[in-house]
């Protein structure tokens, strides 16, 4: 079964951490990425801050165009920051991997994937 590990938190918290703490967080991510690499294909995505987003709201009626708003989807305190997706043999294994990147600045969600496709990389 494929699972997504989604990451929520307050945008900008990472930048507020002292350098050594930032490195510690990054080291955990790199460790997870290496581990996933050894197991096969995976996806890893870090999003830019919510303030860089625009939102496309549904058209108010059939004749109108969708509404484009120059801001994020919701002004919530915690936002969607990024995610991983990979094959795991069961939920427990997915949770074990998610725990590797747990930190006081992130809330993680493990959720099964119904369908996945495509392949992208910024490298």
């Amino acid at each position: 079964m494929m699972y997504a590990i989604t990451i929520y938190g307050e945008a900008g918290m990472f930048e507020n951490l002292p350098k050594d703490r930032q490195e510690q967080v990054m080291a955990n991510h790199h460790a997870l990425q290496e581990k996933l690499q050894d197991r096969g294909d995976f996806i890893s995505v870090k999003l830019m801050p919510p303030s860089s987003a625009v939102t496309i709201d549904p058209a108010p009626d059939a004749a109108a165009d969708p509404l484009i708003i120059d801001g994020p989807f919701a002004e919530t305190k915690e936002s969607f920051l990024g995610f991983y997706a990979a094959e795991f043999s069961n939920l427990e294994e997915a949770i074990t991997h998610a725990r590797m990147i747990s930190s006081p600045i992130a809330r993680l969600e493990v959720r099964p994937i119904a369908w996945a496709g495509g392949a992208i990389s910024t490298d």
Binding site: E10, G12, N16, M48, P49, S52, D70, K77, P104
Partner: protein, 411 residues
């Protein structure tokens, strides 16, 4: 553990102090109340767990702490008599996002008070909104902590004596405040960027704080172009930090920088915010400057630079800001598109306006070197040396003079 907590405090600080300033109608009281709440969090949070909504926790705790203090303090009589604070037993609900963004903008705008010198405005914003300590700010300005402490205290007295209106601003007034605050953030970044006399790490604090504030403005005003353009510009610039100083502490000229050292993540984010500012249709000076930076970032080497497009951007910038310095920048680009002789002739018209501007002389010297007039170039470099260059700049200029001499012997 306290590192994580302090990151959270720093994160909450601008919004919390802004909301508390409106509540108490006084910046100093807001700051003290927030500090009290931080002290309480240091013992409370590790014991009871981090609250689900740290911002709401901070507001409630700080309001209690502040009211306690006010009741005890002498100014209680004055403040309460004027009925400036609503002493409700039930705490008011946390401000909604629109109220809060005006609160933060107001707090930054208070720091930008025209009665203050520009450096004091920046120092005040770093202290009150950024939460930097006085010694940290003093290092940023290369000042003595004692002197900085006095300056900040004086500045705080001045702003306390001239209160800003606490009503919701009109859209026009909001735009005006946003403009003032953006300029202060822009100058904060430049303050950290331009004076490279000290070890760069120390100076970069100001750049990083400016970026943090610019980010905050994009969070508060995600639909406005100016904050997006400003953040984009600062990120483009900041991305070059590692390339502009070499291992021996020498400044590296823009064209000689190893572009591999430009921070790719920062450039990508700068590009994203630039696109957003473009989409919104913002046309201010920050967007034009960001457009110039974006053009440079898109060129893998200096030889790939699209100078005609950059020239058009500078011409547009000069229409918005017809200053001699912008004109000089335009001429520097025209030296690429129309040749050094053309640029030298254009520069003649700025001779009087920019006679004390050292970059005028170094640029003229470079153009004279390019057109095989090393003797005149040396004179121009000497003029720049007389205008107080920073240590790294002086080193570069002296090297250029030596190169000109060598050139003359060869002729």
């Amino acid at each position: 553990m306290s590192d994580w907590l302090e990151a959270s405090f720093a994160h909450q600080r601008p919004r919390a102090i802004a909301a508390l300033t409106r509540y108490f109608r006084d910046v100093e009281t807001a700051e003290e109340a927030f500090s009290e709440a931080c002290i309480k969090a240091l013992t409370d949070w590790p014991k009871n767990g981090t609250p689900r909504d740290p911002f709401a926790w901070f507001l409630t705790t700080a309001r209690h702490a502040g009211l306690d203090k006010l009741r005890k303090a002498q100014r209680q009589t004055r403040l309460l008599a004027e009925n400036r604070i609503v002493m409700e037993s039930d705490a008011p609900p946390p401000p909604d996002p629109h109220e809060l963004r005006d609160d933060v903008l107001r707090l930054l705008f208070i720091c930008c008070h025209p009665a203050l010198e520009r450096q004091d405005q920046i120092a005040l914003a770093l202290r009150i909104v950024g939460g930097l300590t006085v010694p940290e700010i003093a290092r940023g300005f290369l000042a003595k902590p004692k002197a900085m402490e006095q300056r900040i205290t004086r500045a705080k007295k001045k702003i306390a004596a001239q209160p800003v209106a606490f009503e919701t601003p009109s859209p026009r007034e909001r735009g005006r405040r946003l403009g003032e605050v953006s300029l202060m953030i822009y100058l904060m970044f430049n303050e950290g960027w331009s004076t490279s006399d000290a070890p760069t790490q120390i100076r970069l604090t100001l750049c990083e704080e400016a970026i943090r504030l610019a980010r905050l403005m994009t969070e508060l005003f995600p639909g406005m172009g100016e904050p997006a353009a400003l953040l984009s510009l600062l990120l483009f610039q900041h991305a070059r930090r590692d390339a502009r100083i070499d291992a021996t502490g020498h400044l590296v000229a823009f064209e000689d920088q190893d572009r591999q050292l430009w921070d790719r993540a920062a450039t990508a984010e700068a590009t994203a915010f630039f696109h957003k500012a473009q989409r919104i249709g913002h046309q201010g000076p920050y967007r034009i400057q960001a457009a110039i930076a974006a053009e440079h970032a898109a060129a893998p080497t200096p030889a790939h630079t699209n100078w005609p497009v950059i020239e058009a951007h500078y011409a547009a910038l000069h229409v918005l800001q017809p200053t001699p310095v912008i004109r000089l920048n335009l001429i520097a680009v025209q030296a690429k598109t129309q040749g050094p002789e053309f640029a030298l002739r254009e520069m003649e018209t700025l001779k009087t306006d920019l006679r004390t501007y050292r970059w005028y002389h170094t640029m003229r010297a470079a153009l004279l070197t390019q057109t095989d007039r090393p003797e005149a170039a040396i004179d121009a470099y000497r003029a720049a040396l007389d205008l107080g260059p920073t240590g790294p700049e002086r080193t570069v200029i002296e090297e250029k003079i030596a190169a000109c001499r060598k050139n003359m012997e060869g002729l």
